[in-house]
């Protein structure tokens, strides 16, 4: 079956521009997570959606970062006014529910020049 997919696979942008990263979770998975993987910080949690509940945004590093999940399926992570320190691989994961195994997508590699 189809796994978690993310697009684009690579994104190069200029400092100050906005970017949108997309995640398509596994069909039927109610939980969706965004993580960031960078050289200096390792793998960090960003935001978590569970069903229709309010998202857990506790990992977002600044108010330039936001995410939404439409119809309980596809999610978009938006970074406004990108900075060079935003350069990282952004990973999306989904699971059947809370406390269930998370399945990861291939990631979006973001480079901010």
């Amino acid at each position: 079956g189809a796994g978690v997919s993310q697009s684009p696979s690579n994104k190069v942008t200029e400092k100050g521009k906005d970017v949108e990263l997309r995640c398509d979770p596994i069909s039927g998975h109610t939980a969706l997570y965004w993580y960031r993987q960078s050289l200096g910080q390792g793998l960090e949690f960003l935001i978590y959606f569970q069903g229709n509940s309010a998202p857990d945004k506790s990992g977002l590093p600044s108010d330039r970062f936001s995410a939404e999940r439409t119809g309980g399926s596809v999610s978009t992570l938006t970074i406004q006014r990108t900075q060079q320190e935003d350069s990282a691989v952004y990973l999306c994961a989904s699971s059947w529910g809370q406390q269930e195994t998370q399945y990861f997508g291939p990631g979006t590699r973001l480079l901010v020049l």
């Binding site: 390792g42 793998l43 949690f45 406390q99 291939p106």
Partner: protein
């Protein structure tokens, strides 16, 4: 809050030798423990997980890990590695109970298998 320490950033080993990748955690609540593997330019793939029950957990590709509550460890082992096991390995923890679904990862250990 939880934290994970992977003591070795790199582990070089020869093919067919045994390997152990170390992982220690700290948490104020009970935990679930995971090992993920990341091959170059790919996402994370679950190797194995400990939720409850037997402390020795077997995973894919011949890997196993043992949960040791008293030492707060979850070391990953393989008796004989292959070149294809070259990858980065991440230990992760989540708390048990609602409100603890997100994973906290260690910094990763790069396993380098040479012929």
């Amino acid at each position: 809050a939880q934290s994970v320490t992977q003591l070795d950033s790199q582990v070089p080993v020869f093919e067919e030798a045994p390997v152990e990748l170390r992982c220690n955690y700290s948490s104020s609540v009970s935990v679930y423990l995971f090992w993920y593997v990341q091959y170059p330019n790919q996402g994370l793939q679950l190797l194995l997980k400990y939720l409850s029950g037997s402390t020795l957990v077997k995973g894919i590709n011949g890997f196993e890990a043992e949960f040791n509550k008293s030492q707060t460890s979850f070391h990953l082992r393989k008796p004989s590695v292959h070149i294809s096991d070259t990858a980065e390995y991440f230990c992760a923890v989540s708390g048990v109970g609602s409100g603890y679904s997100t994973l906290t990862f260690g910094k990763g250990t790069m396993l380098l298998v040479s012929p």
